[in-house]
């Protein structure tokens, strides 16, 4: 019973959104507003239940964890954002989170996205037993990475053999990469539509398995 009503309501709102394809209308607008409220409301309830209750309130109630009042007060400073005059106080929690997140992230980003990628870019392009298309691919990979980097290099005019040709090859490689992204994005959007059709035809109307 619960599930059946749920699916009918879900189907109703699914169709409400699709009605936008014909033209904008009040039901679409209602759905659009509901989603904003529900998602944040959901977030509030979950955050209280999973974070604040077990990690802050319960330890405080059992005593001995008074030190946790420090982050709690820091967090409460967010409220000052809405009180004119002392709104600057809300910068402290933001600054605390931003600063530390940047500091933690700096060496790790350096390692994952720069050093590890450099390491992987320095592969030998030929090893015995590799089929030709892999060897060719590896050569494309090395030159392609170099060329694309040249394209994003702004300190030199794109002229001459190295920078001129390099950036030209670079933009071609980048276009091939974007082509792949394009194809995959189209695929992704269609997949989401498929998901909704499975919901409408399957879960709701039981026309398909």
């Amino acid at each position: 019973m619960y599930a059946t009503i749920g699916i009918w309501v879900g189907a109703f709102f699914t169709l409400a959104i699709y009605s936008f394809l014909y033209k904008e209308n009040p039901i679409y607008r209602l759905a659009e507003h509901l989603v904003v409220g529900i998602s944040l409301g959901y977030g509030m309830a979950i955050t209280y239940d999973i974070v604040l209750k077990p990690r802050l309130i319960e330890p405080l109630l059992t005593g001995n964890h008074w030190i946790l009042l420090v982050p709690a007060i820091l967090g409460l400073l967010y409220i000052t954002r809405f009180i004119p005059g002392i709104a600057w106080l809300s910068r402290y929690p933001i600054a605390f989170l931003m600063g530390t997140a940047m500091g933690v992230g700096f060496p790790l980003t350096m390692k994952t996205d720069v050093l590890r990628q450099l390491e992987a870019a320095m592969q030998p392009f030929y090893q015995s037993g590799m089929p030709w298309h892999v060897v060719f691919g590896n050569i494309v990979l090395i030159f392609g990475t170099l060329a694309a980097l040249i394209y994003f290099f702004f300190s030199k005019p794109h002229k001459g053999l190295f920078f001129g040709t390099g950036s030209k090859i670079g933009i071609w490689v980048i276009m091939l990469g974007f082509g792949a992204t394009f194809g995959f994005t189209v695929m992704g959007r269609i997949s989401l539509l498929i998901g909704r059709i499975q919901y409408l035809l399957g879960d709701w109307l039981h026309l398909i398995e």
């Binding site: 699914t14 709690a72 392609g144």
Partner: protein, 207 residues
């Protein structure tokens, strides 16, 4: 100032395995989620402000603002205060679960699937092979699109294989160059924020 101290502290911490450094780090991982949890106040506060403002001034479409505010505060009340017997709580079946599973999830999933329609329309009306480069892009896209679906194999094995080859080599080269570029960009922004050169992220708070 806090940013700079916090940032440099955590950066240096990475290189120091000593127990005191670990202790600092451990209390940080304990505190940060608590502070972070309060950040929701910002979202809830500004949403409430915008929509209560609309309702008070009876701005255009003000009625819809109730559709934002009611679930916003209703959800936590249903979930945490209402007893299980009155369809409270978070487990299925409850009002909380219903609102999420049967209203939020369908709407949000459908919103994004609208784009399937728009892509089809744009495919016909706007995607043009206007230059050599745009042609290359579209060709690569078509090969990849056909290669990714089962019908592509009807044209022969070469099609999906070419698609995969594009993904694994030229695509990888382009994405790695972008990743390195973006990586440096993120690092530079991190530095600018830590050392206070960049201040926009404060979002004009209090100014």
């Amino acid at each position: 100032m806090i940013v700079m101290v916090g940032g440099i502290l955590m950066m240096v911490q990475y290189f120091i395995p000593h127990q005191y450094s670990q202790a600092v780090f451990n209390s940080y991982t304990e505190w940060a989620p608590i502070v972070g949890a309060f950040a929701l106040i910002l979202g809830v506060g500004s949403l409430t402000r915008v929509h209560s403002h609309k309702i008070r001034r009876k701005a255009k479409n003000w009625q819809y603002s109730w559709a934002v505010l009611l679930p916003l505060f209703g959800m936590p009340v249903f979930a945490l205060l209402l007893p299980q017997s009155l369809a409270g709580g978070m487990e299925e079946p409850s009002i909380f679960h219903f609102l999420f599973m049967h209203i939020q999830v369908p709407i949000q999933s459908t919103m994004f699937s609208l784009l399937a329609f728009y892509i089809a329309s744009a495919a016909f009306r706007a995607f043009r092979a206007k230059s050599a480069l745009a042609t290359v892009l579209l060709l690569a896209a078509v090969i990849v699109m056909l290669g990714q679906v089962p019908i592509g194999e009807v044209f022969g094995r070469w099609l999906p294989e070419t698609g995969l080859w594009i993904l694994r080599y030229p695509n990888l080269a382009a994405k790695r160059a972008i990743m390195l570029g973006v990586g440096f960009g993120i690092l530079a922004t991190n530095l600018k924020i830590i050392f206070g050169v960049e201040r926009n992220w404060l979002g004009g708070a209090g100014k």
